[in-house]
Amino acid sequence: MAMTLSEKIFASHLRDEPFPGTKVLSLDVVLCHEITTPIAVNDLVARGKDRVFDPSKIKVVIDHVTPAKDTKTALQGKILRDWSRRQGIRDFFDIGRNGVCHALFPEQGFIRPGYTVIMGDSHTCTHGAFGAFAAGVGTTDLEVGILKGVCAFREPKTIRVNVMGTAPEGVFAKDIILRIIKELTVKGATDCVVEFHGDVVRGLSMEGRMTLCNMAIEAGGTSGVCMPDEVTVDYLWPFIAADYRDKKAALADFRKWWSDEGCEYVKALDIDVSNLAPQVTYGYKPDEVKDAAELAGTAVDQVYIGSCTNGRLEDLRVAASYLKGRKIADTVRGIVSPATPKVFRDADEEGIIRIFMDAGFCVTNPTCGACLGMSNGVLAPGEVCASTTNRNFNGRMGKGGMVHLMSPATAAVTALEGSIADPRKFAKGGR
């Protein structure tokens, strides 16, 4: 029978079906951060079940508030730190090595095609970019995942999104996914996996694919998914070289996860990006999206470049290409958070950090930072932020604040202009 990628993963990981339609899967990786994990750990301790199913399959990072800002966040970090030591979890990323979970864990090679991945974080769907089934879950699912290595799901249906054409100058993965969410709406992919296909997706780097998959949840999707191909093999090669004779053999192995010809899709969506303009959100829902030009002139107080959506090297590189030799408007506070220490180091070596600083940006350590208004970069009531993050919910970056989501290119030119701007109207910098 023809199967989708996620159906294949469900079939290969099925541990139990306690009731018709309820699939209990065995987990390959359980990811943890300091916001949703400590309560699970405390509950396990309180139940007298302070154990983990397999310490080598649990990966832990402190990323949302780091360095700790107060006693409460210091305690969250401490609970995670003590637990990781106690349980022999070797892949624990503390300050100095830590970064945004959905950028750091792929960078470490922890995610592979065909894997089942859960985390107490809705943007876990990002990891589907590697051809994995990766789903955000709550603390209780996380707790059971940590203890038993299993998680229950209603098997999702699959939506096929075909991205065709040629992306024009100034249009990036972020613009494409914002447009897709506009088409699907914020609930259009609920209980579905969103598969991204087409020449445009095949032409994207892993960074670009992660940007696409990262926002599948904003359409309600359980996971975003890309078919693992040569690009996936190249990205993972440093971690898998010992497992395969050559890259061709790795690719052949990865291909077994591809959705079969004739598999069943609940919906298919074709997007031609040849005439797509840079996209920007305008309301409090990620499906409220317009062309950047329609919002041009909207004044902003802060520009934030970073997050699990757009804080990777490629994103910083694109933003810097517009900022080079220029100054951001003096009415704007520019903040950039490289997503991981590696991103930071590579950006530094390429001179990108210097470009940001010369342009007037504040460069923070790797962290989730301003994205969700619980750490640094919080907005005052009435303030507006142009942001490369993934949620524009009411109050997301601070009570009474307004967030416009956009690509790093659009964010960079918006910082220069002091108001929302269309990157296609800007020559790249270069002095």
Partner: protein, 176 residues
């Protein structure tokens, strides 16, 4: 098993997200009790006052489509649980929120839009509607100064088992 039913809080909007239910700045708390005063603090509905003391008398929420979208934070069901709201009734839910409710042994009941519209007819100015849940027979009944009526709902066997077990940890621990 938890107790279900009581005074109804109507939230007349779709796509209410978890940031509105409990803002991220409170996710630094590591006890459910600390979340209690912050329920629905950032909810954007015209005329809604999160400080209204009447809010804490509610035991059931009735709302529209895609309730609980956004973040995976289980703090959203927890802030309801700690305020003695163990039932949310909507025309649809976001997946993670819905699962989190049942994982906590709470009820997320989906009803067709027509049924939700009929429930909303009981939304009075005095917020005096009361709803009861007959868990064994899969029925809810609402009563207000506008009259009373009842509705059948359906739950999967798994959802029902989670509620009966008191949550997913209890269920999984005895089975895996």
């Amino acid at each position: 098993m938890k107790t279900f039913g009581g005074k109804v809080l109507f939230l007349d909007r779709s796509d209410i997200n978890t940031d509105e239910i409990i803002p991220a700045k409170y996710l630094t708390e590591i006890s459910k009790e600390a979340l209690k005063p912050h329920m629905l603090e950032d909810l954007k509905i015209e005329g809604f006052d999160p400080c209204d003391p009447g809010l804490h008398e509610a035991r059931v929420i009735v709302t529209k489509a895609n309730f609980g979208c956004g973040s995976s934070r289980e703090h959203a069901p927890w802030v309801f649980e700690i305020n003695d709201i163990n039932v949310v009734i909507a025309s649809s839910f976001a997946r993670i929120f819905r699962q989190n409710m049942f994982n906590c042994g709470m009820l997320a009941i989906e009803l067709p839009e027509e049924a939700i519209d009929r429930l909303f007819k009981h939304k009075g100015t005095n917020a005096n509607a009361s709803l009861s849940v007959d868990f064994n027979n899969n029925r809810i009944a609402i009563e207000s100064d506008k009259g009373s009526e009842s509705f059948a709902y359906s739950l999967s066997a798994f959802d029902k088992a989670l509620v009966e077990a008191g949550g997913w940890v209890e269920f999984a621990d005895s089975k895996y």
